[in-house]
Symmetry: C2
Subunit: 416 residues, 2 copies
């Protein structure tokens, strides 16, 4: 550990002492002995969540029963919580709703986009986009038939590939595997210049870095509640439709909660005003309530400070790994420039799967993405500089001692 | 209260003492001073739910973080819980999944049905079906265009209206407003004779009465987790696809969880085996866990005894109301024959809205459905015979004293 006292590299203890976000760590219930570098997959538990969920279960539901829908504002949660998420992603009040899963919301927005650009039948995306997003797009194109198609291009070909056939460009802001971040303003502009709409998946952005949907003139967006928003396993997702598009937007999932008068039980469907028309069925209140705690916590932090710390954590980890693991078969798989990546760093290693398992056995939790990517996420609200230094040292040790070379680390479970 | 000791009518105390389901009431956390006749809208809180949800939050999520997906079987919940629901609705293991909302599931199954009956473009339903179901069907038809249509007929015309254009017949087993129950076997047979598929909405059936999807040869079904399954506000819904149809079934919502290898992050979508292919996005685990407690409780009860008690409660309530409120403008709006209705009784009254509010102010919670329906649901697991007698007496009092005739009971909130 001599490296830690090397004057040429920053001292993690000093960095932690000076961290303006340090106080947030105590707001999470983190297990002992664990360095959690997987908050980009499932965020940690805010301390306030258990009491909030217990209150919803025992008082709001148990005591007030059906009255809870109005008395405790359950019915308003999708839009009320949406307005809070809006502040994290540079959207205006009334532009965001919390509902359903990212997949379902993506389906709604892609179908809505095709309707807003009649005559154009192509959904353009990149080959390296998150597979689920592509599955949903393909599923929609297959359902619609009639020449609707998903066109996939390489990352550096996107801007040039948007043409008069393109109804909507679908991109994930921060790549799930490499952490590479798109230029939201430039690509949105390119889409608009070709007459297409731009749909951003903010799964790895919301809560981790500043997003400026409004300033970038973005049209549509979806995102995830259980990563950097710390909403809990399978927390509901969110969707954004720019106000200027809402009047013409129609959701293909015309459920009761998106109706103009949800409680009137009218015979025909009339879309609700504003973003409400993007809602479908009854929201899962327990999961929504847990998500609200995570979102409230994220709103307490200055997102500029979050981004600054995220970049500093990433750089510190990269430097320590590249120095400590030199010659051990580890290659940086993320952009070297921290401005070009989100809140994660990935390294490729031929035995990446086993290495990640060996790290987990030591309490350093990252994850693996095929074919060879070891992924380490940095959630600045609960991660310390000392943690990433310790994680880098654990990685060095695992590689130096070949601790990964054991059968139990190499057997891939059916589910990982 | 002389009526209670009238030897010609049953004594509720004696009925409660002899009730084989009486022990279940203690398994629910019911508030004092409330007679809850709205379990058909939002079921009551099982006592075991709070501890189960707390464990999921604090231990499974808080301590085990991302490991919870495998260690605590979150990833299996949609199908594991589906197999439990299957036992309540006469389906086989592997035919039911718990996921999303009823609206979203209905969309999946209707789209899947149209694909299974190529060339047929009509969704047939009844004018009096639950409006949301019709909205979803209309939304799908509008999305698909090309002659796809929703055709609505009167209830007694359904069987005769199924023709060679009909891809799928969509009916709610128990009508949300009148409680009238369809003959599942006969209508399924009629659909099949015309070459159409049959899709049942079991929102008001599952957990309240025996359902025999398999024995009726039903093709598709959806249902609700927050009514008689007591899963909590907005609990996830379920869907059923008969095994013989699963191979040809495709969900339009081709999300990652329905993929044959959800964790392989393959480029193209391959539908999973069996009912798994009807899944889409990540399930909301807190809400799923709460639902499991309700379903487990429902499985402890003999569904035949549940149905027998439900009918007895309904008959007792109907008799007491018709005797006590004679000449007070109350008309039975449900079938008189208990064999032809689900687990609710509805009465029409010109001032029904205000009457229901006056009852709620007295702690008797039913609900109102436009234009004039007072709806009273009977959840046999936690309702006593004494409760329904007391509720009938409260209704008599409210009507006899015109207690409903106060401004605060007549002002309709925007949300009711």
């Amino acid at each position: 550990m001599a490296r830690q006292s090397d004057p040429a590299t920053p001292d993690p203890a000093r960095l932690d002492a000076a961290d303006p976000l340090a106080r947030f760590r105590g707001r999470f219930a983190l297990p002992d002995g664990v360095i959690y570098l997987d908050g980009n997959s499932l965020g940690a538990l805010p301390r306030a969540t258990a009491a909030r969920v217990a209150r919803v279960v025992e008082e709001e539901w148990g005591r007030d029963l059906i009255g809870g829908w109005t008395r405790h504002g359950w019915i308003d949660l999708p839009l009320r919580l949406g307005d809070k998420v809006a502040r994290l992603i540079g959207a205006a009040p009334g532009e965001v709703a919390v509902a359903d899963s990212t997949s379902v919301n993506l389906f709604k927005l892609l179908a809505g986009a095709l309707r807003l650009r009649p005559g154009r039948r192509v959904i353009l995306s990149e080959r390296d986009n998150f597979p689920t997003d592509l599955y949903i797009a393909e599923g929609l194109a297959a359902l619609l038939g009639g020449g609707h198609a998903v066109r996939l291009v390489e990352t550096d070909e996107i801007a040039g590939a948007i043409d008069g056939e393109t109804a909507v460009v679908l991109l994930t802001h921060v790549n799930y595997r490499t952490g590479r971040m798109h230029d939201m303003a430039a690509l949105t502009r390119a889409a608009h210049e070709a007459g297409a709409l731009m749909l951003w998946d903010l799964a790895h952005s919301a809560g981790a870095l500043p997003v400026a949907l409004g300033a970038c003139d973005a049209d549509l967006a979806v995102g995830c509640g259980y990563k950097y928003l710390n909403g809990g396993p399978g927390a509901p997702a969110f969707l954004y439709v720019a106000r200027r598009l809402q009047e013409g937007f129609r959701s293909p999932l015309a459920g009761w909660l998106g109706h103009a008068a949800p409680f009137a039980f009218e015979t025909g469907y009339r879309p609700g005003g504003g973003i409400a028309r993007a809602l479908a069925g009854t929201p899962p209140i327990l999961s929504m309530a847990a998500l609200e705690v995570g979102v409230d916590l994220a709103l307490e932090a200055d997102i500029g400070a979050v981004r600054a710390k995220s970049m500093a954590l990433g750089e510190l980890f990269r430097e320590r790994v590249e120095a400590g693991c030199a010659g051990m078969g580890v290659t940086l798989a993320s952009p070297r420039d921290p401005d070009q990546r989100g809140s994660q760093i990935c390294f490729a290693h031929a035995e990446g799967y086993a290495v990640v398992q060996a790290l987990i056995a030591r309490g350093v939790i990252g994850d693996f993405r095929a074919p060879d990517i070891m992924r380490f996420g940095f959630a600045p609200l609960y991660l310390r500089y000392a943690d990433v230094v310790q994680a880098a040292e654990a990685l060095r040790e695992v590689l130096a001692t070949r601790a990964w070379d054991r059968p139990e680390f190499k057997t891939r479970a059916a589910v990982t």
